[in-house]
């Protein structure tokens, strides 16, 4: 297991919203929990079964953040060896779920 954390400064301030959960923890898959946070940035917390992929995680998360730029959000991930493409899709699925959850 490896724990990774990243923070990116965001531009799009999010109002409070009901937490969004997408995906499942299964082989080659992951779950993403998107929650509101009091902070002025977007934080990512990853628990992954695959060690040594920190630089790839950072690239994928930075990509996601450049697309959405959330501010005041906390993203928590439980990962069981998902590929970068699957991670990207799940993150965008969470962002799409957020649009529905917003008042």
């Amino acid at each position: 297991m490896e724990t990774l954390t990243y923070r990116f400064a965001g531009a799009q301030r999010l109002p409070t919203f009901a937490p969004v959960l997408v995906g499942v923890v299964a082989s080659g898959n992951l779950e993403v929990l998107l929650e509101p946070a009091a902070s002025a940035d977007c934080s990512f917390h990853i628990e992954t079964s695959a060690r040594g992929f920190g630089t790839i995680w950072e690239a994928v998360l930075r990509d996601f953040h450049e697309r959405h730029g959330f501010q005041g959000a906390r993203v928590s991930i439980n990962d069981m060896g998902a590929t970068p493409a699957v991670v990207s899709l799940r993150l965008d699925q969470a962002a799409a779920g957020l649009k529905k959850a917003l008042p």
């Binding site: 297991m1 959960l21 898959n29 079964s49």
Partner: protein, 296 residues
């Protein structure tokens, strides 16, 4: 349009089966009540430990619901997972919902959590019987690709009503477990037709182990779940003895090495050899009287 129950996740099943937007979850993922054991084994946890519990409305009636996520560790019952199920059932004793519905998809005890999982499953069984004894029906819906095996198979048969699709499976030991312990001559786990003849929804329906057989369709499960709301069965010594007598009779009906087709014939199923090819509607009209006797 038909929507496959088997292909839905646990949360999608809840969202689609119950009245729209009526689900209120207890211990949601954001509470992070996760397994205390998996991290020690180098395995990632799930925020809900593989089961969602809460209250919802079904055709306007207030019900309690639990849905197991088969994709997470095969729906295995770990310590937290089991405690969530027990907590839901005990709360039902206090709040008296119209029914408790368990959307089961599980290989049974999560072996990584060994004794904690075993104790969890036995507590679930006791809690199911307590809820039934209080006159609140417990309904188990089985339609996931992982089936319902091990301790959860026993839990299912402790319930008032069992609803299955034809692609669902219900048993104690799973095919691979039987093959590993008794050899491939005893049971070839890769023989899918054999596996479904022995554990599948059609077989369970014909022999009376499940009450309703439906298509692999969310709307069909919803209709069957609504019908089961009035499905409370007496939990009495007389009822248990009747069931035991029926099971003893079934044991006499079939020798150790015989195929399910022979059992169907002896139960009085017409065209028993054609059962695997029948669609659900046709099969329903082939259910023998003795199958319904065991179901009660």
């Amino acid at each position: 349009m038909s929507l496959s129950f088997a292909e839905c996740s646990a949360r999608e099943r809840i969202a689609l089966l119950f009245d729209e937007g009526s689900f209120h979850e207890w211990l949601p993922p954001s509470e992070r009540v996760t397994s205390p054991h998996l991290a020690q084994l180098g395995l990632p946890a799930a925020f809900d430990d593989g089961v969602a519990i809460g209250r919802a409305r079904l055709d306007g009636h207030g019900v309690f619901v639990a849905a197991q996520e088969g994709a997470f560790m095969g729906g295995g019952v770990g310590e937290v997972h089991g405690a969530k199920l027990v907590g839901l059932l005990r709360r039902a004793l206090r709040d008296r919902p119209r029914a408790v519905l368990l959307l089961a998809e599980s290989g049974g005890v999560r072996l990584h959590e060994a004794n904690a999982g075993l104790i969890g499953v036995s507590e679930v069984m006791r809690a199911v019987l307590d809820v039934r004894a209080a006159g609140i029906p417990v309904v188990v819906l089985i339609g996931g690709a992982n089936g319902c095996f091990g301790g959860m198979g026993i839990v299912a048969r402790c319930a008032d009503r069992v609803v299955m699709s034809d692609i669902a499976r219900l048993a104690m030991s799973g095919p691979e477990v039987i093959e590993a312990s008794h050899g491939v001559e005893e049971f070839d786990s890769r023989d899918r037709a054999l596996v479904w003849r022995t554990t599948g929804g059609k077989h369970r329906y014909l022999s009376g182990d499940c009450d309703a057989l439906v298509e692999d369709d969310v709307a069909a499960f919803r209709t069957a779940a609504i019908a089961a709301l009035n499905g409370s069965r007496p939990l009495t010594l007389a009822a248990l003895e009747r069931e035991h007598a029926g099971l003893t009779q079934r044991l006499h009906d079939v020798a150790d090495d015989e195929d399910a087709v022979l059992l169907w014939q002896r139960l009085g199923v017409r065209e028993a050899a054609q059962v695997p090819d029948m669609d659900v509607e046709t099969l329903r009209s082939h259910r023998p009287a003795r199958g319904t006797q065991l179901a009660g």
